[in-house]
């Protein structure tokens, strides 16, 4: 007997942090969460699994489009035709979703109760599934307190959407402990909510399969579901199925061995070639991060947009529609350029001194920020100004500091280039 355990589908949830540019693989990236879900259904049909478990968060909570639900129903109908039953629970996201409430699901799908734990039996395989969904988006109680004890003669599976005892980046909903889960005597705990795949325990197996498709730069690496094989009522194997269509990665490039930015790009190009070779028809959403210390840093920061475009062009040439440069972060540092310039006893070194003073004077910087950017801030859409959601507030001290950090390099590089051109 085989079943697939998946969770955190977040259908139609947009991929975050991607900025469009000429040559970016817009088309191939479109509808990634849907395509990953179709991959899941395709795989279940191809593998002829006996059961599919969905451990919550089918959609984003605030997503109102019923079309998403209709799409989900269509995919469930495909499984129905293939004779594959589905057992699912609501997570914190789909608990409040209007889509969940309005959806008419095909007969193969069982949504477990949100009021109390419910048990479904698959007599043919001697499998019992116990589970309870979220009634409200926020559940602070330990739902497993009311889960029944394991039923003898069955392979007992617990289906649960939980933050367990707390996991970084995720709210601790439906808190519970590993010991608490073990105490119920189940053979497999199919958990959802945490987007990073993790096998917490092997006796019994307590598994987070991770989400089906990474949606931003913090959700890196292979994403998908877990395929579980039982032989004679005992768990035989556990296998991760890769189902994502867009792969998020953070690529660090060390600039310390390069003399110029072009040389850094050359080694980045080699790195991208390697990545492309291992993509398997997937799109790579890459965050490029420069690290280390070297002269190229000043070039990058001095002409940030130019070099970002160069990096994007490089990705277009190498990737042929398979790499999207999500962001370029120049986290490297300079060897000594600005320090050297600051010791020159000339007007520019005086400017750098002034810059240093300003960066230490929060009140003055804030006043300059207000003066220069308050109108801009007024005209920006509200959603753009929330730093938590990837936005920027131009008059905030953090934004001003970050921008100010580049000013010395920008002026140094531009001055040097223009002086060279005028010679």
């Amino acid at each position: 007997m085989r079943f697939i355990h998946a969770a955190d589908i977040h259908l139609d949830s947009p991929l975050r942090g991607l900025s469009r540019y000429e040559g970016a693989p817009e088309e191939t990236l479109r509808g990634a969460t849907r395509r990953a879900f179709v991959n899941l259904v395709d795989r279940a049909i191809r593998l002829k699994v006996d059961l599919l478990l969905l451990a919550g968060d089918l959609y984003d909570g605030d997503w109102p489009d019923y079309n998403t639900g209709l799409f989900f129903t269509t995919q469930m109908a495909r499984l129905n035709q293939a004779g594959i039953p589905v057992v699912a629970i609501c997570g914190n996201h789909d608990a409040q979703s209007k889509i969940t409430r309005g959806l008419k699901l095909p007969s193969n799908v069982t949504m477990l109760s949100v009021d109390e734990p419910e048990t479904v039996h698959f007599e043919k395989h001697q499998v019992a599934i116990h589970g309870q969904g979220f009634k409200t988006p926020v559940v602070w109680e330990d739902l497993t307190e009311n889960y029944p004890q394991a039923q003898p003669g069955f392979f007992n599976i617990g289906l649960l959407h939980t933050g367990l005892e707390g996991r970084p980046g995720h709210a601790t909903y439906a808190p519970c402990t590993l010991d608490g889960l073990k105490s119920l005597g189940y053979d497999y705990w199919a958990l959802g909510h945490i987007h990073q795949r993790e096998v917490l325990c092997e006796e019994p197996h307590v598994v987070y399969p991770g989400n089906l498709q990474g949606r931003h730069a913090r959700e890196t690496g292979s994403k998908g579901a877990t395929l579980v094989t039982l032989v004679d009522g005992e768990l035989e194997t556990l296998e991760h199925l890769t189902l994502d269509v867009v792969r998020w990665e953070r690529l660090e490039v060390d600039i310390s061995r390069a003399q110029t930015a072009d040389e850094v790009l050359q080694s980045l190009g080699e790195r991208l070639q390697e990545e492309v070779a291992s993509l398997d028809d997937r799109v790579l959403a890459a965050r490029i991060i420069t690290v280390g210390s070297g002269p190229a840093h000043a070039e990058f920061v001095g002409r940030r947009e130019y070099w970002i475009n160069e990096i994007r062009n490089l990705a277009v040439q190498i990737g042929h529609e398979s790499i999207w440069v999500e962001k370029v972060k120049f986290k490297s540092s300079t060897a000594a350029d600005l320090e050297e310039l600051a010791s020159q006893h000339d007007a520019f070194s005086s400017l750098l001194d002034g810059l240093e003073l300003l960066s230490g004077d929060e009140d003055r910087l804030k006043a300059i920020g207000e003066d220069l950017f308050s109108e801009l801030e007024r005209k920006l859409p509200l959603a753009w100004k929330d730093p938590e959601a990837g936005g920027i507030a131009p008059t905030s001290i953090e934004s001003l500091r970050e921008a100010l950090g580049d000013v010395g390099h920008i002026l140094a590089v531009q001055l040097s280039q223009n002086a060279e051109q005028s010679r």
Binding site: R16, D65, L341, I368
Partner: protein, 1151 residues
């Protein structure tokens, strides 16, 4: 600066050793630009793909220089091409770049370019920048310092920012992105399908489908009835027509039955008959015409029999025509050749060629010998010349060798040098140690000063007894745990107090709602009741009658009533009573708990205090302010760092002392040794570096002399060898000439010659003889060809005469004309014969067609006869009328059949007869009425059904559109991307705006800090540069400006702003600002030469001189290197005091 190999230079030296103005004059191609490049390469390294390797390979490129620091120290170094360690000392040791950096005051290449390098183009753009900035003081000072390019930077920043965003813009990148984001957000909303909408549509669809089904059923029934009545209505008309047709057919019953294609057959037979007749007539005419033409042609032609002979003759006729022309030409050529042969023989004095000359192989041998003789004599002459040159070179080299003094070899020098170098390394290490000592001392002092809570000395700190980190950590843990316990105890105490207060508040609340009857009070009442009863019993016992004990009884009754009432109250308020009791009990428990908690709190506080005291006791020093464990842990680490620094300091100090002693010993030893070798030198030197330099110089001299001698020896050996080789070659040639002579004489013996000819003369005679041979061969060939042509002409004429018999009338013609005429006649005869054959074939064809026409006519006549029999008619003319009648009968039968069919179709399954009898019973008017009513009903139902269908269609379409599409998700995705894009643009905009703003405020800050001193010095230089035309430079506020601008005062007292100055004056203003800036920088930093490259190109003579004077003055503080290609500048510089300026001339290089 010495360039052993760089660009066009080989072993070339430029001495800038003197301070002041150094003018380097060099015409074009003299290496002026290369010198400048070498200067830059020396300081900052050679470019990876330098263009200066065209003469010397990369690995040979080198620039040597000696640099002098303002503190008097000197650095000798060599710059080579390479990736790393390109800086070497003279003896090949790697020199750290930092050493060079110290000598050039840490000056970067960029600042070198911007501040210390100036050419006429930058000067001009500097002048323009001053004008463009309206002479603003801040901008002008800034431009003079960082170069005029800063303006472009500022403009670019502004332009890029404006392209990104404008408050009211639409097309700028950020404005456009905001717009796009709004659109995408709107699209998301529009494409979103609300759940309620979907459900409402589905419900309506179900309802509409049910209604539509009802209407469809009703409509079907109405239509069935309509169809039946409609059929009957149609059948009524057909039935009348059916009856009429029966009557008409009865009238035509005697008409015969003919085939349907009778008329066609009749028309075809008739047409065929007419056509056959016409064809026969035409063919007869054609036959007679052809016959006539045939008769007019002859029947035979005699020329055709001799056709082959005539054609053969005709083909050769044109060739014979050419022969007739060629023969006289050949005859004349032959005659000419014979004359030439005769003449050559006369020249060579020959009657017959075989008279004098031997055969051709002897002649060839003689020719080769003559040539060999020529070659040998030429080589001998060349060798002789070479020998003379080599002998002269040998003499010169030997003279040089004699001149070269034998200088003393000093192998010990190498050993001494090594010792001095070791000593110099100690010195350099000592210098470094001094720096390290100072740094370590500073670090130690600053570490001690910044050590908090400590007021003692370093030694006291070192000897301070401190607890271990583990002990501190244990205390930290204990204190933290005690504090936590105290905190918990406080929280529990506070919580107990709150609970008690809450309990009391609730009790008070109950009391406020109304008194709660208490069991205790009931008990009291019952006891009172008992006491009253005792009183009554006592009274009764006392023998009093109840009447007498009224008072006691009343008291007792009252007590009974009160107790009962209270008991009832308790029963009625059982809940409240129980609650009160519980609250009271809880209150007691809480009070007891609280007391315990207070005790625990006190104990915990005491424990904490004790710990605190123990902590203080642990640090037994008055010099230390004891702080909590975490801070003291940090303090301990800081203390350790200070002590580490002290250890480092001590190590440095120790190494310094040891090294200084070693250095001094080494110096003493060296001085003694040097005094022995160089008694003439003034000893001792101050330090080991001087000794090292001295030894280095001596060794270099010794090496150079030895090198020169070795080179000379090598040249001498080579020259001698070459001389020997040349002599040997000469002897070899002489020998070859001697061998040649007998062979020559032997060959000449074959010639019958009166006197011995020279080899050249014989070679010329032999060549003339070969020419005569050639001419004789040509004459022979010409004669042979002439004879062949004459024979050919005779044969042709003979053949022509034989063919005259065919046409005797042409006997008088020339043979060529005869051939042409015969050929022409032959062609004509062929044409006529061909024509006759064609006519005969045509006649035969006509005869054949006539036979066919006659056969057709006969067939047509037979078919007409058969048709007449079928119709029973006598003549063909009767047939058309009969055919028309037969056709009408057939038509009526067809109509009758059709009408019958249509009636059957409308009969709804009844037989025709049955249906006809039904029709006979119907009324047309009644039918019409009923049909009209049903039609109306149908139309109403139909339109109702359409309305339902339309709505169902609409609903289905709407639901189909709700197909799980991802349009909304796609739009949301797009909006997310646009937001990220926009946020990136905002960040970009912020960087640009901030950069521009900071440039602006920092220019102003720079002005405020530097305006006074720089303007003062600029004013001085400007006055000199303008030859006193302007006396002063100052800053002033103009009416309309917020920032001060530069103003110059002319000698007439007039004030002039930058825009009022000529272009040249503005350039000079820029120069004076630049010089003042450099001068000011020199006060804080190591001076560096100011490099002026062709700076005076656009200055007239007077201003050029003024500028040179200024540069010479400036050069006294800061060395100036002026490169120029103008003779004028050289002349002017030479006019200057030689103390102030030196002129060096570069020669034009032959590249």
């Amino acid at each position: 600066m010495h360039m052993p190999a760089f660009g066009p230079f080989t072993d070339f030296e430029l001495d800038f050793g003197s301070p002041g103005l150094q003018v380097v004059f060099g015409p074009n191609e003299s290496g002026k630009s290369s010198s400048l490049r070498a200067f830059r390469a020396l300081l900052y390294g050679m470019h990876r793909q330098t263009t200066d390797a065209f003469l010397h390979p990369y690995q040979k490129l080198a620039i040597r220089a000696r640099l002098e620091h303002s503190d008097g120290s000197v650095l000798d170094l060599v710059r080579r091409k390479g990736r790393k360690d390109t800086l070497k000392s003279n003896d090949g040791e790697t020199v750290e770049e930092a050493q060079l950096t110290r000598f050039i005051g840490n000056l970067t290449e960029e600042v070198f370019d911007r501040l210390y390098g100036l050419d006429h183009r930058t000067l001009a753009s500097g002048g323009k920048a001053l004008l463009a900035e309206g002479g603003k003081v801040g901008e002008s000072l800034f431009a003079a310092n960082v170069g005029p390019a800063f303006r472009v930077v500022r403009e670019q920043l502004r332009k890029e920012a404006d392209e990104l965003w404008r408050p009211r813009g639409r097309t700028q990148a950020l404005n456009a992105t905001i717009g796009d984001w709004k659109d995408a957000t709107k699209q998301t909303k529009e494409a979103t399908l609300q759940v309620s909408k979907f459900e409402a549509l589905q419900a309506e669809l179900e309802e509409q489908e049910s209604l539509a089904a009802d209407v469809r059923e009703e409509l079907a029934a109405t239509r069935a009835r309509l169809e039946k009545l409609g059929n009957q209505k149609k059948a009524l008309q057909s039935w009348a027509r059916y009856k009429e047709l029966n009557l008409e057919l009865e009238e035509l019953s005697d008409c015969p039955d003919l085939d349907e294609d009778f008329s066609r057959r009749r028309e075809e037979a008739h047409d065929d008959y007419k056509q056959a007749m016409a064809e026969l007539t035409r063919l007869k005419t054609e036959h007679s015409q052809l016959d006539q033409k045939l008769q007019s042609l002859p029947k035979e032609w005699p020329v055709l029999d001799a056709a082959d002979a005539i054609e053969n003759l005709y083909r050769r006729a044109s060739r014979v025509e050419d022969l007739l022309t060629e023969i006289p030409v050949l005859e004349a050529e032959l005659k000419h050749l014979k004359e030439q042969v005769q003449k050559s023989r006369v020249d060579l004095s020959l009657a017959e060629e075989s008279d004098l000359f031997p055969n051709s192989s002897i002649r060839a041998e003689a020719g080769e010998l003559a040539t060999e003789h020529l070659e040998l004599t030429r080589r001998r002459a060349s060798l002789e010349e070479n020998l003379t040159k080599l002998q002269s070179r040998l003499a010169r080299l030997e003279a040089q060798k004699q001149e070269l003094n034998e200088s003393a070899e000093m192998p010990e020098l190498q050993l001494l040098l090594q010792r001095a170098r070791n000593g110099a390394n100690w010195e350099s290490r000592l210098e470094q140690l001094r720096g390290e000592y100072k740094a370590a001392r500073n670090a130690l002092d600053s570490g001690l000063q910044s050590l908090p809570f400590w007021s003692g000395s370093l030694d006291q700190l070192k000897s301070l007894s401190v607890p271990s980190l583990e002990a501190v950590d244990q205390f930290a843990q204990d204190l933290q745990s005690a504090q936590l316990s105290l905190q918990r105890a406080r929280q529990e105490r506070d919580s107990g107090v709150k609970k008690l207060e809450k309990n009391r508040a609730e009790l008070a609340g109950m009391e406020a709602e109304g008194a709660v009857p208490s069991p205790e009070h009931l008990e009291e009442l019952r006891e009172a009741r008992g006491r009253r009863f005792e009183d009554v019993i006592a009274v009764w016992d006392a023998g009093k009658t109840p009447k007498q004990s009224q008072g006691e009884l009343a008291e007792f009754r009252g007590a009974v009533e009160r107790a009962d009432r209270h008991s009832d109250d308790i029963a009625r308020n059982a809940d409240r009573v129980a609650r009160r009791a519980s609250l009271l009990k809880l209150g007691d428990e809480l009070a007891s708990d609280l007391a315990q908690l207070e005790t625990r709190l006190k104990e915990t506080q005491e424990a904490l205090d004790t710990l605190g005291q123990q902590w203080q006791q642990l640090w037994d020093s008055e010099l230390l302010t004891v702080r909590p464990p975490q801070e003291m842990r940090r303090w301990l680490e800081q203390r350790k760092a200070v002590l580490d620094r002290q250890r480092e300091f001590e190590l440095v100090q120790k190494e310094g002392t040891t090294l200084d002693k070693q250095r001094q010993d080494a110096l003493d030893g060296l001085v003694k040794a040097l005094a022995r070798y160089f008694p003439e030198v003034d000893l001792p030197f101050d330090n080991l570096t001087q000794t090292l330099e001295f030894l280095d110089k001596k060794l270099t001299q010794a090496n150079e002399a030895s090198g020169k001698r070795a080179t000379l020896e090598q040249s001498l050996t080579e020259t001698r060898y070459e001389l020997d080789e040349a002599t040997a070659k000469q002897q070899q040639v002489d020998q070859q000439l001697a061998q040649w002579q007998p062979r020559w004489e032997e060959t000449l013996a074959h010639f019958s010659l009166h006197k011995q000819p020279t080899p050249q003369a014989l070679r010329a005679t032999l060549q003339d003889y070969e020419e005569l041979q050639r001419l004789m061969q040509a004459a022979e060939n010409a004669e042979e060809r002439l004879n062949r042509l004459l024979t050919e002409r005779e044969v042709f004429e003979l053949q022509a005469r034989e063919l005259v018999t065919v046409l005797p009338e042409l006997a008088e013609q020339t043979p060529v004309a005869l051939a042409q005429h015969l050929h022409s006649r032959l062609l004509q005869a062929r044409e006529e014969s061909k024509k006759r054959n064609a006519l005969q074939s045509e006649l035969e064809e006509v005869e054949k067609v006539r036979g066919e026409a006659r056969y057709k006519l006969q067939g047509a006549q037979e078919r007409v006869g058969q048709l007449l029999t079928e119709a029973g008619a006598a003549a063909i003319e009767e047939l058309p009328a009969l055919e028309r009648k037969v056709a009408q009968k057939r038509h009526l039968l067809q109509l009758q059949h059709e009408v019958g069919d249509s009636l059957r179709a409308l009969s709804s399954g009844a037989t025709l007869d049955e249906f006809c009898s039904t029709l006979a019973s119907l009324s047309a008017e009644q039918l019409e009425l009923e049909l009209e009513e049903l039609g109306q009903t149908e139309s109403e139902l139909d339109s109702k059904r359409n309305r339902h269908s339309q709505r169902i269609g609409e609903l289905n379409q709407m639901l189909q559109q709700m197909d799980g599409s991802d349009r909304a998700a796609e739009a949301a995705e797009k909006a997310a991307q646009l937001m990220t894009e926009g946020v990136d643009l905002v960040a970009q905009l912020m960087r640009l705006e901030l950069a521009e703003h900071i440039l602006k405020i920092e220019i102003e800050r720079y002005r405020q800090a530097n305006e006074g001193p720089i303007l003062k010095r600029s004013s001085h230089y400007f006055s000199q540069l303008t030859c006193g035309e302007y006396t002063e430079l100052h800053s002033a506020f103009q009416d309309d400006s917020e920032e001060p601008v530069l103003e110059a005062r002319s000698k007439s007292g007039r004030t002039v702003t930058v825009d009022g100055m000529s272009e040249g004056t503005r350039d000079q203003l820029y120069l004076s600002l630049r010089l003042a800036t450099i001068e000011q920088r020199g006060e804080d930093a190591e001076p560096f030469p100011f490099i002026a490259d062709d700076l005076l190109v656009h200055f007239d003579r007077e201003r050029a001189m003024a500028t040179l004077r200024v540069l010479a003055e400036f050069g006294q503080k800061n060395q100036v290197l002026l490169f120029t290609h103008l003779d004028r500048d050289r002349e002017l510089a030479e006019e200057l005091d030689s103390e102030l300026a030196e002129v060096k001339c570069l020669e034009r290089l032959a590249l």
